[in-house]
Subunit: 198 residues, 2 copies
């Protein structure tokens, strides 16, 4: 089956929008999803940014919140910004990698995003992560142990390096087998359609 | 009739996409368009940028070109980047203001964008502007004289100040009567639908 790669960062608001709808969209298009957590921090740092552009550029930050409010409302999604923003998504990303090996990845990823941007919860707190793990049917102590292995840590660094090599500069991004890059939740349909092109 | 305000900057690639389709879209939605040329330069400067973000952030610049190629191809629009980018759109913006008073504004605006991003022509060259004026049915010497008046110059500065007050940080942007702001060609449909909400 055709596939697209879904590049997401747990701190990213627009990644929340895509995470909550990509399975349904991809299923109805007949496309498989490769879930790829990565970190925007090192990519932003390489462009000289030490935080989210939504903090650096105030008008853009205000606009992003309103834009997501409107979209979330139209899609029937709850939306609440966590404080502080951006959240530190390092441990969530490592746990997601453990879950993607183990079968509970997508459910855990959605549970984290829901807690973070649906309820405004801190996702570096062990309690939020425990709740998301349990919701996804994972065994928390095994998952945390796996997330701390050198292998998982290296895999997350490699995802981030690969994102950078592919020219990814924001999240969510989508890449197709033939090397096309699409950026933003508003490009999801286009990315799926492209992946099906003969 | 309901209206939306279309904020555009002649140097902006995504404004080209919107300028070429907004009339048809607005007409079929039954919405009037208020055309508002403004300058992004002062707005970018206020955020510490001395050129387009597509030049400052290379990955974003590469992506933007590919994104527009794909969209332009799907819409049957020619696309060619001018060199240098961004172009200086000051005089085109002043002429557009003269044309918006005089009835030939939209045709002139589209002719400038077509020359700039359909053919890669320099839009600060008098020849490009003359051709666009003639294509729009304007009388060039009268138009240039009007564009140089203190009144037109002040109107462009006022548009730019108003954009800044409204929190506009990029182009194209769309605003509705009830104060909503939408940014990007990919928000045009949403802006039109919003303007029709009761």
């Amino acid at each position: 089956m055709t596939e697209i790669t879904f590049w997401f960062e747990f701190a990213s608001t627009y990644s929340y929008l895509s995470a909550m709808r990509i399975e349904e969209k991809a299923k109805s298009a007949g496309v498989d999803i490769v879930w790829k957590p990565f970190l925007l921090g090192p990519i932003f740092k390489a462009q000289g940014w030490d935080t989210s552009p939504f903090n650096l550029y105030q008008s853009k930050g205000f606009y992003m919140i309103r834009d997501i409010q409107r979209i979330a409302e139209a899609r029937g999604l709850p939306f609440r910004m966590p404080n502080p923003f951006p959240q530190n998504g390092l441990q969530a990303a490592r746990l997601a990698l453990a879950g993607l090996e183990d079968g509970w990845g997508p459910d855990f990823i959605k549970a984290v995003y829901k807690a973070e941007f649906g309820e405004g919860k801190p996702i570096s707190d062990r309690e939020t992560l425990m709740t998301a793990l349990r919701a996804a049917g994972a065994e928390p102590s095994r998952a945390f142990a796996r997330a701390e292995t050198a292998e998982v840590k290296a895999a997350l660094r490699e995802n981030t390096d690969e994102a950078q090599r592919k020219g990814i500069f924001g999240a969510p991004s989508f890449t197709t087998g033939d090397g096309e890059l699409f950026w933003g939740d508003d490009r999801l349909d286009q990315a799926l359609a492209w992946s099906l092109k003969k």
